[in-house]
Symmetry: C2
Subunit: 348 residues, 2 copies
């Protein structure tokens, strides 16, 4: 089968490799219908040292079960499924808490003996804990529905996780920093959770326009101190109850504590590209600001959000503005890296 591998910065190739097979009785093999490129894939696309061994890429997918191990009970051959980007048993203490990304048996795509999801098929360990049947057949899903279901594998529910962790609720003012696919998903998730006002900080007009369609009530293009001043002015000097930081770089973190209201919440879902950050009196402590966020336990949220997708109340798949065949995955990376595309879907 064909699968995408990264051989070094900027060097994505589609190779022919062996089909995945059942290795454990709890495995499933899923034939992939749609996959995509994630903003987090671009970190490696920038900095992976060149190597003769390719790294399997991709961790977002919807597909059809092709084969299951003898202990798999909840899915069978032919089922249309969504796979969260983190593979979990969904039974351990952390899974029961709703933090499946910390599952004691967690697996990630492209690591160990699990392949990447930018491929024709992939082995999914712990299939019962991981895969979710959306309650619709592949045949009944149109292109827009496929795109929206694919976002439940990661990007929309990453935005939802940020909003959920920060306590977005009716009456709240939310500021979203970053107009990438995760930031726009956070806007839509905040709207869905009833936020009264949603300020989107971003400067790419096509993206912030989609943010407005998703529910942003205000757009702030300024950054740094000017951006902070603009949000404070919009909020009557009080700041934002919730700030969702969907970038991952220090200037975005600094904006976050600049605009958060005393007693408010900052939630981060851009993987932080820093380890040390201000947390003392002048940033978080003096304001009693709360800092949350981390890798989204997508598995915890799928059932709650699915009805809104299936019944058309939200259309998170609109973050995909390009669709390419798997063979053109390298072009997909290039388009996202150059910001020509917001998020690229792959047909397989």
């Amino acid at each position: 089968m064909r699968a995408a591998f990264l051989y070094g910065a900027g060097d994505v190739r589609v190779d022919h490799v062996a089909e995945p097979t059942i290795l454990e009785p709890t495995d499933a093999v899923v034939r992939i219908v749609r996959a995509c490129v994630c903003g987090s894939d671009l970190h490696r696309y920038h900095d992976l040292p060149a190597s003769g061994t390719g790294r399997p890429m991709g961790h977002e997918l919807i597909g059809v079960v092709e084969e299951v191990g003898r202990d798999v009970a909840t899915v069978r051959k032919g089922d249309f499924v969504i796979s969260p980007f983190a593979i979990s048993d969904n039974t351990c203490a952390f899974c029961r808490d709703g933090f499946q990304t910390a599952c004691v048996n967690v697996h990630f795509f492209g690591a160990g003996d699990v392949g990447g999801a930018q491929a024709e098929a992939v082995r999914i360990p712990l299939a019962d804990g991981t895969l979710v049947k959306p309650g619709i057949t592949l045949e009944d899903a149109d292109e827009a529905m496929l795109a929206s279901l694919l976002t439940l594998s990661d990007v929309f529910l990453t935005g939802h996780h940020a909003a959920h962790m920060a306590g977005v609720a009716p009456g709240r003012t939310v500021t979203v920093i970053g107009d990438g696919a995760v930031g726009l998903s956070a806007v839509l998730a905040s709207k869905r959770l009833g936020a009264e006002r949603i300020v989107l900080m971003g400067r790419h007009r096509a993206r912030t326009d989609l943010g407005v369609e998703f529910g942003a009530t205000d757009v702030v293009a300024e950054r740094g101190a000017e951006g902070v001043a603009a949000v404070l002015e919009l909020t009557g000097g009080e700041g934002s109850h919730v700030v969702i930081e969907a970038v991952g770089h220090m200037p975005a973190y600094e904006q976050a504590y600049g605009v958060v209201r005393p007693g408010g919440s900052i939630s981060r879902v851009g993987v932080p590209q820093y380890e040390l950050a201000p947390v003392g009196w002048g940033s978080l402590f003096g304001k009693n600001a709360i800092l949350s966020g981390g890798p989204a336990p997508v598995r915890a949220y799928i059932e709650e959000v699915l009805p809104d997708v299936l019944e058309g109340r939200i259309d998170p798949g609109r973050v995909f503005d390009r669709t390419l065949p798997l063979d053109d995955v390298a072009e997909g990376y290039r388009l996202m890296d150059s910001r020509e595309a917001l998020k690229v879907m792959l047909t397989v």
Copy 2:
């Protein structure tokens, strides 16, 4: 009247100064009955440069109203009152959110034209917003009750704030780092909020013994990696739902993220003596750990906690292990600094 001033590191003196008077129609003057020395006073006691001008000290007090401005409606001459350590209007947006330490009109003792509370009397601006009548007369309160009421000015409710912000609730495991008066208060507050298991990290036996009486189920004397390993072992490898960091130094912060459970909460109430701290994948983000805490909005909690104090269900005043007259306040600082005393109450 007499009042305590700090003239430089280690140099506390009692001076004779003018009695406070009403300056604004919203002021009260309160004659102080009991005051105390706070762990945070010791920071200045360590590092204040010597000066010919003394700095007024103290911010915790109970007392009797001596005079009120013409606009004060809720207290009058003769009322027995508790004063939170932060003076607030209790009407602004942040006060209504329950974050009176961020009041737009906040005042602090010993700053501007407000004196310190280690004194015979003090002017309290915004008396209606700040002072709380405990529903008991001075004459009806015995020594133990006075001590417990005094803790509602700061120390017990600072422990409560940490527990509240981190979501302590029945069934939760809480780890408290630090066996000072705030740490022990956090143990008692966690017990009051229904924590199932409370691990106290501290190595001063007399203090951890009081912690056990307050509700600690386990005591861990080890620090650093050994301390983290001990707490993880006590929690079956899972870590603690809630970690209350009541020290304020980096090693305590590092212990906090070491022992917190994935998806758990770290709450800080030791004023951080650092600005930068680890918050990335290897500390908070990877675990989805939440970081909260800040100066306690004591005013928000007094009414809720008072009945438990008045009816004897909790006795937070036990953190005071020495009582000295105001004239001996310098000895009080010395005893706390040398750790001979846990917390010193002052009679006035």
